[in-house]
């Protein structure tokens, strides 16, 4: 047992595609449930109160953030154009980290950084076999 815990093999305990499925679905669900859904509803009801981090105006910033956190997370959950959607979310979280939370203490920066790390991993590792990308190939 300890030998298996010391292993550096990718498929020691579970299949890689299954690990990637868990990482992808749970992260995107948290993102959608905690951030994206409220932003999408704000866009749909016309409540454009948002920050203006990169000088595009609050409306375009909110629409871009709602697209990334509401639509692209659905793409990642389904596994459809996963790497493209993860790239969009990486840019989104980089902006959140570099322009919004850069002068905050670490406790408030932490969540943006964790999401950035997870979406970078999804971008680099891909969706795995249990995804629409694999089914539609």
């Amino acid at each position: 047992m300890l030998q298996r815990l010391k292993s550096s093999n990718l498929r020691e305990f579970v299949n890689t595609s299954f690990s990637l499925l868990i990482l992808r679905v749970f992260t995107s669900f948290f993102m959608l449930y905690g951030h994206g859904w409220g932003k999408l509803m704000n866009v749909l009801t016309g409540n454009f109160q948002f920050g203006d981090p990169i000088g595009l105006g609050p409306e375009i910033s909110l629409i871009l953030a709602a697209f990334a956190e509401g639509i692209c997370t659905l793409f990642i959950i389904a596994g459809f154009y996963t790497r493209a959607a993860a790239l969009v979310l990486m840019i989104n979280m980089s902006v959140a980290f570099l322009f919004v939370h850069i002068s905050d203490p670490f406790g408030r920066m932490e969540m943006a950084l964790l999401y950035l790390v997870i979406f970078t991993s999804i971008f680099l590792l891909g969706p795995g076999k249990h995804s629409l990308d694999a089914k539609l190939k």
Binding site: I22, G34, T82, A84, G126, G128
Partner: protein
């Protein structure tokens, strides 16, 4: 040319070892920097003010949390016994999530859930090629 945007191959952009190295180092690094270091300093200076989620007393809880979030996070950064360390940190974060859930602090729960997810993924995917585990196994160094 943009086929990698919908490819499902795991090595199409970079080697898997590099991806896992990034995942491992950053997750455990944030854990150590944001939580583990403060807890070790608290332990060193004797501030035992902590919660008691599993009924072993606040001191024992604090020592266990400090151990998991500093020593095992450093193990994960170097890739030494990565799967075991990730398992310890998964248990730690599962306890934190349960405790926060029962206290109805859902805003505070999201980083704990993300850490839980990250360490579960590290446990399942392993340390990859750029780790002490792989180096030891390749060179036949007994542990």
């Amino acid at each position: 040319m943009l086929r990698f945007l919908y490819s499902t191959r795991i090595r199409i952009l970079v080697d898997t070892g590099i991806s896992l190295f990034i995942l491992r180092t950053f997750a455990a690094g944030f854990m150590f920097f944001g939580h583990g270091f403060g807890k070790v300093m608290g332990l060193y200076f004797g501030h035992y003010q902590f919660v008691d989620p599993i009924g072993v007393g606040p001191e024992a809880s604090f020592i266990l949390a400090a151990l998991a979030e500093s020593v095992f996070a450093l193990f994960i950064i170097f890739g030494f016994l990565s799967r075991l360390s990730a398992l310890v940190l998964t248990v730690n974060m599962a306890v934190a999530c349960t405790y926060l859930y029962f206290n109805q602090m859902l805003g505070d729960m999201e980083p704990a859930l993300l850490y839980l997810l990250l360490f579960t993924s590290i446990f399942m995917l392993g340390p990859g090629k750029y780790s002490v585990d792989y180096y030891f196994r390749k060179n036949g160094i007994p542990r």
